[in-house]
């Protein structure tokens, strides 16, 4: 499936995803939001409807850039009580699949495992994250990020209080 560009493209995409994961684990959410385009969308469907469409169905999260910035501000401002004090997270990104969409954008999917530790709870968020990445100068920007959880219910997580 790897498109033209071969190993070099794969390397640059994977490097980008690892960088994103590191920003999230470091709670550098301002820098994380800067990875997005101005017309970006961040969607997390519900656990019972992974194919959920925000224009029609109930989803957990459907942020445009304005709400994404507000989310980052909220999570780092000390008043998002579910994450204050913050949880410790560690992200593992693998099984990266890359396809050219034809208009200079890349369609990328990655398996993601996030361990979250807080208040004696240690539980993983597991799923797949689909991206549309737009080439910008020598780097990428995220135009679309859809994070689909494999969990049957949020169960003991109680919320999607971190960025998945």
């Amino acid at each position: 499936m790897t498109a033209d560009g071969g190993p070099a493209l794969r390397e640059s995409v994977e490097e980008f995803l690892y960088r994103e994961a590191a920003l999230l684990d470091d709670w550098s959410l301002d820098a994380w939001v800067d990875l997005f385009t101005e017309d970006a969308r961040y969607v997390v469907p519900t656990t019972d409807l992974p194919e959920g469409d925000p224009s029609r169905d109930l989803v957990f999260i459907d942020d445009d850039i304005t709400r994404l910035r507000a989310r980052a501000l909220r999570l780092t401002g000390g008043n998002a009580h579910r994450e204050h004090p913050r949880s410790r997270t560690r992200r593992f990104v693998s099984n990266v699949r890359i396809a050219e969409t034809g208009d200079g954008e890349l369609s990328v999917s990655a398996n993601v495992l996030v361990f979250r530790f807080r208040s004696g709870e240690a539980a993983p968020y597991v799923g797949v994250v689909d991206y549309i990445l737009r080439r910008e100068r020598d780097d990428f920007k995220i135009a679309y990020r859809r994070a689909v959880l494999d969990l049957e219910s949020l169960a003991w997580h109680g919320a999607v209080s971190i960025i998945f």
Binding site: P45, S55, R56, D57, V59, D62, H81, R82, S153, L154
Partner: protein, 451 residues
């Protein structure tokens, strides 16, 4: 601790306290199952969740696996999800459509009315074997009100309409907003909270915590240009809190930044202005100015005792609480929308829901944290009482005055003492339960009190 002493209700001094063992004791948890969840009407689902003949959907109610099914005859039924043969779950997918449900264990098959229609090797059974006795079992009672289906495991329970008491009018205020009925959109929120279920009942009715717990939500909504500059306790209209009989309670507030039904706000975008204003004209024409304003300009947090919440403010959510243990509950929430809405109007409503509600919203995660924090705090012991006295002597109780929570707790206490749903002194004169409420009452001129 004696059950009679679990609540201090001193109306002279205006003190109301709940003993925290009510939220930590396994004995009391079992007693609740027996005296509340096995006795009351319990919400099971909305008619739109099984829209077509053959549609089915699983549920767990007070620990019992059930499923809703719409028969080929169009009727909605609720079945215990257990094969009459050996007990296996008959319905194993979360939802779907089938004309025949076949138990995978020995292959007994049932139609959508629950009749046993096929038994492999039936000739091996004797003459006493009667298929007619071996259909899927239903809970003792099933009934619906305006599309909301309830079951009761108590054959002697009063009829649903009587049970709903004053909550009926509030369900009407929600359902009547739609021109062609309401439906639940696909997708639901399912999460677990490590806290006693009654803490979420309280929290869902509580306006006192808005400006503290949900500071980030208020900041966000203000940042979008809404006029929440008056976002201080003193400056807000007090709203109206009522106990509606039988433990049902409500808090009503003046909507401060529009409602997806018939109250447009710039936040929703120009595109939706015309259809939202048109909906208002329709409501005024059909229900008159006062009731239309009630639907469009006020919001309500309604408890249908014991564990159903209909929260109608930035959008309408149905929230069902399933107690798991003294310190744990499962929560499921759905989004209820008018059937006639589509396109930009529906998109606006879906978006409005997400800002506040849901595990990924800007408010719900903080509530989850607050409740778990309480439950953990209970372990500190040495401080055995939770206080819900706020506004107890206020002659015109507003939504920050905790009357709604006291109404719930008084009914809970009566049930736990083995008393029924009548003659509970929930703090409201009988005449006020049925009195017409006007928008100006909610604005801050409420009559009556709690004495």
């Amino acid at each position: 601790m004696d059950i009679n002493d679990l609540i201090i209700d001193d109306r002279q001094r205006g003190i109301f306290r709940v003993h925290r063992s009510s939220m930590t004791s396994m004995d009391l948890f079992r007693r609740e199952r027996e005296l509340i969840f096995e006795k009351c009407w319990i919400y099971v689902g909305h008619e739109s969740e099984v829209e077509n003949p053959g549609d089915y959907r699983r549920r767990t109610l007070a620990g019992r696996p059930l499923f809703l099914a719409r028969g080929e005859d169009g009727k909605v039924r609720v079945f215990l999800n257990s094969c009459p043969h050996r007990g296996a779950l008959v319905c194993r997918r979360a939802a779907g459509n089938a004309s025949i449900l076949r138990c995978f264990y020995h292959g007994w098959s049932f139609n959508t009315k629950g009749d046993l229609i096929a038994v492999p090797g039936e000739d091996a059974y004797g003459p006493g074997f009667d298929r007619g006795e071996l259909g899927l079992k239903e809970p003792a009672r099933v009934d619906s009100y305006r599309g909301f289906y309830f079951v009761s495991f108590n054959p002697l329970v009063e009829d649903l309409v009587t049970y709903l008491a004053g909550a009926r009018d509030y369900l009407d205020l929600v359902v009547d907003q739609a021109e062609s009925g309401m439906r639940v959109v696909s997708g639901s929120n399912r999460y677990t909270i490590k806290a006693n279920w009654k803490l979420l009942v309280e929290n869902s009715l509580d306006s006192y915590h808005l400006l503290t717990t949900h500071r980030t939500y208020v900041d966000y909504i203000t940042g979008l240009g809404t006029d929440d500059s008056r976002a201080t306790m003193a400056a807000r209209p007090p709203g109206l809190a009522r106990a509606l009989g039988n433990g049902h309670c409500v808090g009503e507030n003046i909507a401060r930044h529009g409602r997806p039904i018939a109250h447009w706000h710039p936040l929703f975008g120009e595109e939706t202005r015309e259809p939202i204003e048109r909906a208002r004209v329709r409501l005024v024409k059909k229900y008159g100015e006062e009731r239309a304003r009630r639907m469009a300009d006020t919001s309500r947090n309604l408890l249908v005792y014991p564990n159903l919440l209909v929260l109608d403010f930035v959008a309408i959510t149905i929230r069902y609480i399933e107690p798991l243990a003294p310190g744990a509950m499962d929560v499921t929430a759905w989004h209820l929308v008018p059937r006639e809405e589509s396109g930009a109007l529906l998109a606006t409503r879906l978006d409005s829901y997400l800002t506040f509600f849901g595990p990924g919203g800007f408010a719900t995660p903080d509530d989850v944290e607050a409740l778990e924090s309480c439950q953990e705090g209970f372990r500190a012991s040495g401080n055995e009482w939770s206080d819900l006295s706020r506004g107890m002597l206020n002659p015109a109780p507003g939504t920050s005055d905790e009357l709604q929570m006291r109404g719930f707790w008084r009914q809970w206490h009566a049930n736990m003492q083995g008393r029924g749903r009548t003659n509970v002194q929930d703090g409201e004169p009988e005449e006020r339960k049925t009195a017409a409420v006007s928008v100006s009452d909610i604005q801050g001129n409420a009559p009556a009190g709690e004495r």
